[in-house]
Amino acid sequence: MKKCLIGLMLVASPLMTWGASEELRFGVDPTYPPFESKRPDGSLTGFDIELGESLCSELKRRCIWVENAFDGMVSALKGRKFDGILSALSITEERKAEIAFSNTLYDTPARLVAPEGSALQPTAESLRGKRIGVQQGSVFEVYAKRMWGPKGVEIVPYQSSDLTYSDLINGRLDAAFDDAIAVSEGLLKKPIGKGFGYAGEVVKSPEIFGPGTGIGLRKNDTALAGEINQALERIHRNGTYERIASKYFDFDISPK
């Protein structure tokens, strides 16, 4: 009994951590290579991760990465679990109603992926009656549910992209709709991705997909937003951005 009371106090103390101002906490869902993923030893790697670390070193702060499910990112940000979302979060009007964004980080296209040889195209007529996997909470889910869902296409949302690819591989899905680079790294370039390829051309929709991804911030954190945008400018100017980008992409992904 006494042990439990002491235990309770020990439990309560790590429950509370006061945010130190030399730290910058980013929320990330590390299931989305090459932007953010986990190595087997548990450490984080990816374009967003390196971008975040370079921003932190510009701001002379320590980066803390807080893992969170993608569809709960905005709620967690508003709940102050972290100070910014750096997880391939597209800038959209719906999200701007809830949170603020930094300047655009990068812009990558959206594509449909399906077994090679299937004649599927990213149109409602071609996909009618088929099951399409998307990540829950992403702009791809919004696009699919708005443009294809009402026309008889079954949209299946998943907690994370790797679950989508699993079900695509084992045949539960006819196609998956996601970021072209994420699909390439997470599926096509891997041995299990043999026999799959892009179906149709890049899908463009500026109203739904927005100008690209950005760092999600709380609306009243204007000081932080200013600092981050300045740091972003500096790493563009001193070439850090290009250096990191060329490690991951062989084409220019900076925002137009």
Partner: protein
């Protein structure tokens, strides 16, 4: 390579699961004792609060409660802190998971402890009061030790259920062994293998727990009572 290089991570995840379950059990037992005493207290408001607690918590699935509390706790805390004009503090995710699980299973413990308190022979209490013991002395020296014997099987059951419920914390985003198994399985395309491994680990925990429980029950069980049959 030990389990394709993921062996160490899985063991770490297993250790995390056990830790979360153990701390949650402490919280649950504490809440259970408080709740049982509240339910048996002569004060009606206390009884009401305890009854609402147990009824609400036991009629909602633990997964739903976990999601509700885990995500809302921080938001609620922030609102309270804002109302007082203070800077709110951040809830550690593991601590929150422990608190959530403890809160949920505290309701089940309340019912078990209540039944156990009521199972104590009334004669014991009468004798204690006859000796002039104060209310708190009776509670601390007579009721709690005796009640623990009766509560043991029920608490052991709750511990087993709690241990399995701790497998759900991966859905809160925590890095327990279920999450590691998912990542390992997807990375190596050997999902079935890794899921069977963690199933075996859970089974081992369950068997060990029930063996420990049987040992405890044998040590603390009441003397066989003479009953008029």
């Amino acid at each position: 390579m030990f389990l394709e290089g993921y062996g160490y991570l899985i063991l770490q995840g297993a250790w995390l699961t056990v830790q979360v379950a153990a701390w949650a059990a402490c919280v649950a037992i504490t809440l259970g004792l408080l709740g049982a005493l509240a339910k048996l207290s002569p004060l009606a408001p206390l009884r009401l609060v305890a009854t609402i607690y147990t009824t609400l918590v036991r009629s909602v699935p633990d997964l739903v409660l976990m999601l509700l509390i885990y995500y809302s706790a921080q938001i609620g805390l922030n609102q309270v802190a804002d109302a007082f004009g203070q800077e709110s503090f951040q809830l550690n995710p593991y601590g929150t998971a422990i608190g959530t699980l403890g809160f949920i299973y505290g309701a089940y413990c309340t019912e078990t402890f209540r039944g156990a308190f009521q199972a104590i022979a009334v004669g014991q209490l009468e004798a204690a009061r006859a000796y002039g013991m104060s209310h708190w002395q009776v509670l601390w020296r007579i009721r709690l030790p005796q009640m623990m014997r009766f509560a043991l099987p029920g608490i052991g059951n709750i511990w087993q259920v709690l241990l399995k419920s701790a497998g759900l914390i991966s859905l809160l985003g925590l890095n327990d062994m279920v999450q590691v198994a998912k990542q390992a399985g997807n990375a190596t395309s050997r999902q079935m293998f890794f899921y069977l491994v963690i199933a075996a680990i859970f089974l081992a925990f369950a068997v060990l727990s029930s063996l420990a429980l049987k040992h405890l029950e044998r040590r603390y069980s009441p003397e066989p009572q003479r009953r008029a049959s």
